[in-house]
């Protein structure tokens, strides 16, 4: 799905990523863990194509296609989805209107007509049920006055609606209580398939009890210093991150 080789990136002249290698295949779930400041969120922003981040070295290939010259919206059209750690508010734009605009923008990029209203309605109903979202929520302004849990649930709702190939969940567990976490994780699990891939970025092992990864990578100082299976996450939980620093 995505192949990242020797990726170096900086923001405002500050080097954050120092040679990331990552290969995610269709059907796989990868978890990226690491202490604060290790570059987890930078990695997600760089994959999504945020223009504040400059790639100085290395390559990113999405299904074999080089992403370096491709804008953020085109990456979205190609199936990259980022569940934001801090979703932004857009006052006056309802959740429904936003997702409708996003879906039709993606369809347009693929030469398709706007999705018929009935089809959209059906899909919204189906996906909001999946995330236990009620219709009152859909009429609210995007993320405005949302609780932390509502924001994250809304991110996964959008993921469900857009059906991306590669989803990056950036700290989706932060700000969620255990019930909300279960709902979100359950939603994500239902969206897993042999054709798509998910990268879960998290500080804690908690989320991984519900979204079970095939691989776990530990990021430190802008590099993946250790990779393993789910057991690695448990080891980190037990031992903390200090021993990792010695590997770097």
């Amino acid at each position: 799905m995505i192949t990242i080789e020797n990726l170096h990136a900086q923001v405002e002249g500050k080097k954050i990523l120092n040679g990331i290698d990552l290969d995610v295949k269709p059907g796989e779930v990868h978890a990226i863990m690491g202490p604060n400041g290790s570059g987890k969120s930078t990695l997600s922003s760089v994959i999504a194509g945020h223009h504040d981040y400059e790639v100085t070295e290395g390559t990113m290939l999405l299904e074999g296609e080089d992403l370096s010259e491709i804008s953020a919206e085109e990456r979205a059209h190609k199936g990259i989805f980022l569940s934001f750690q801090y979703p932004v508010e857009i006052p006056g734009v309802s959740v429904t209107n936003f997702i409708k605009t996003a879906i039709n923008a993606n369809r347009k990029a693929h030469g398709l007509e706007n999705m018929p209203a009935n089809e959209m309605l059906k899909k919204i109903r189906e996906k909001s049920a999946l995330l236990e979202i009620d219709s009152r929520f859909l009429s609210r302004s995007l993320n405005e006055g949302f609780s932390g849990g509502e924001k994250k649930r809304n991110e996964i709702f959008q993921m469900a609606m857009l059906e991306p190939k590669l989803s990056i969940l950036d700290e989706t567990d932060s700000g969620l209580d255990i019930d909300a976490l279960k709902i979100v994780a359950n939603g994500v699990n239902k969206l897993r398939s042999k054709d798509n891939a998910i990268v879960v970025i998290t500080h804690y092992q908690r989320l991984l009890e519900y979204i079970v990864p095939d691989f776990v990578h530990v990021l430190f100082d802008g590099k993946i210093v250790k990779s393993g299976t789910k057991d690695l996450a448990l080891e980190l939980e037990a031992k903390g991150y200090d021993w990792i620093k010695e590997l770097a």
Binding site: R75, A105, A117, S139, L142
Partner: protein
């Protein structure tokens, strides 16, 4: 606000434009310059009664003694009033033989607005064999209106056919000496619209003046008079979302609304005059006087979407004369490139228990300057007057300006006045969020701007609102850097 299934469905459906109703306007051209003789000639041309001629002359004499106002936050070269023809003929003849001769950029804009080919031809001034649909539609509508006793015609016709109504109300809300541009308009207005809704009648359709088809016929000095008799209701639409490439630089319209006891007038405007080039060259000067008077228990709502003109000077106002009367002003003013807008409202509370609401949304992009100027005035007799004002400004980039000039004058202690103001900038993080969902930067800006303007867009009649949204989007094109 919870969605019902039905509302949700409605929001998802693509809305189609439906035809409104319109009036026809025709005129001719006079030599340039302004004098008593020209005023008399205009009046004679229109075969006006003596009282109307005298009224115009009175206005002209007042105008000669007045100075062009310079207190607005706009800067421009003052027009030479002797270099203008005061009687112009916009529909004199078709400009083009075929649509291939029309500016492709203009056609592209029509395309984006979803305007049909026949309408495109009409708007661009291309010869059309027959006016599609509109004749039959107009005939049907005119019959419906006639049955209810509603008068809807050009003001010239009204002067001929209903002189008692015109004589009684013209200048009653905006006196001839009110201001420089109103005086000028009173002296030389060529045409405009007249509407009278009889007692107890609810006008069954949205009335529109220059909506779409005959938009090209808008004059330089329009005069509009709307009278809602007791317990009547009318919703009136003015303007056009399609771009107006008008050669006239100066536009000075006057609109007067009279809401008699227990009546309601809803007046919606979309203004999209030529704003000038990206470099600030050219563009229309739009100096408009709009005012309504509210009698007991009546209500006037002004809703405006202003995206055009190089310079805008416009304050649709309400004189809340009657007890328990209500005035509302909902405005979106968008400026881009070198546009300048100084717009707002005046709410004058004279009666007891009068209420007013002001919602103003200013959007500034490019190197434009956007000012809100509003007056809330509570007179000593106006016990329990209430006003709520909200002025929000949205800035794009670092080279534009947003200004707010609220004036509050209260002379009655029982008044409740609230004023809220916010200024925000479109955040890069908001744009990136949209980009990440596959929405390109221009569309993202449009989405954010439409969200910002939503409270006002919601006040527009449905079809108009959909077009206005597209218009905001088109007006901001190229402002994303």
């Amino acid at each position: 606000m919870a969605y019902t299934e039905e509302e949700l469905k409605k929001e998802l459906e693509t809305k189609e434009y439906e035809y409104g109703f319109y009036t026809d306007i025709d005129s001719e051209t006079f030599p340039i310059g302004l004098s008593e003789e020209i005023v008399e000639r205009i009046s004679a041309k229109k075969n006006e009664p003596e009282w109307m001629t005298q009224w115009r002359l009175e206005a002209f004499r007042a105008w000669k003694k007045m100075d062009e106002p310079d207190w607005a936050n706009v800067h421009y070269k003052k027009p030479d009033f002797q270099a203008i023809s005061y009687y112009s003929a916009p529909l004199k003849k078709d400009k083009y033989e075929s649509i291939d001769e029309v500016d492709p950029e203009l056609l592209a804009t029509f395309e984006k607005l979803g305007i049909s080919l026949d309408e495109q031809k009409k708007l661009a001034g291309v010869a059309v064999d027959i006016v599609v649909d509109s004749v039959s539609v107009a005939t049907t509508f005119k019959k419906t209106l006639g049955e209810k006793g509603i008068i809807f015609c050009s003001i010239s016709e009204a002067i001929q056919d209903h002189p008692e109504l015109v004589k009684k109300y013209i200048g009653s809300v905006v006196p001839v000496k009110d201001n420089f541009y109103a005086a000028l308009n009173s002296a030389v207005f060529s045409d405009g619209s007249f509407c009278y809704i009889p007692k107890g009648v609810r006008c069954p359709m949205e009335l529109s003046t220059y909506f779409r088809i005959n938009q090209a016929g808008t004059g330089q000095f329009e005069r509009t008079l709307v009278i809602a008799d007791e317990s009547s209701y009318v919703s009136y639409l003015e303007g056009c979302t399609a771009p107006s490439r008008d050669e006239n630089q100066l536009h000075a319209a006057v609109v007067e609304l009279v809401a008699l006891d227990h009546s309601e007038i809803k007046y919606s405007t979309v203004q999209n005059w030529y704003p000038g080039g990206k470099d600030g060259v050219g563009g229309v000067y739009n100096f408009v006087t709009k005012r309504g008077i509210c009698h007991t228990h009546s209500k006037i709502s002004w809703t405006q979407v202003e995206t055009g003109s190089a310079v805008t000077w416009k304050y649709p106002s309400c004189i809340l004369k009657g007890d328990h009367s209500t005035g509302e002003f909902y405005s979106i003013a968008l400026t881009n490139n070198y546009q300048q807008a100084d717009t707002g409202t005046k709410m004058v509370h004279l009666g007891k228990n009068t209420k007013s609401t002001i919602i103003s949304k200013g959007i500034s992009a490019g190197k434009s300057q956007n000012s809100y100027r509003g007056l809330v005035q509570v007179h000593p007799r106006a016990t329990n007057a209430r006003n709520f004002s909200q002025c929000d400004s949205l800035l794009m980039g670092n080279n534009c300006g947003a200004h707010t000039f609220p004036y509050i004058e209260v002379r009655n202690n029982s008044a409740q006045i609230e004023h809220e103001a916010t200024t925000s900038k479109i955040g890069e993080d908001q744009v990136f969020y949209c980009n990440q969902r596959g929405i390109d930067p221009e569309k993202a800006i449009a989405l954010i701007v439409n969200g910002f303007s939503k409270e006002v867009l919601n006040k527009l009649p449905m079809e108009f609102a959909v077009e206005a949204q597209k218009l905001l989007e088109i007006s901001l094109e190229g402002s994303v850097g």
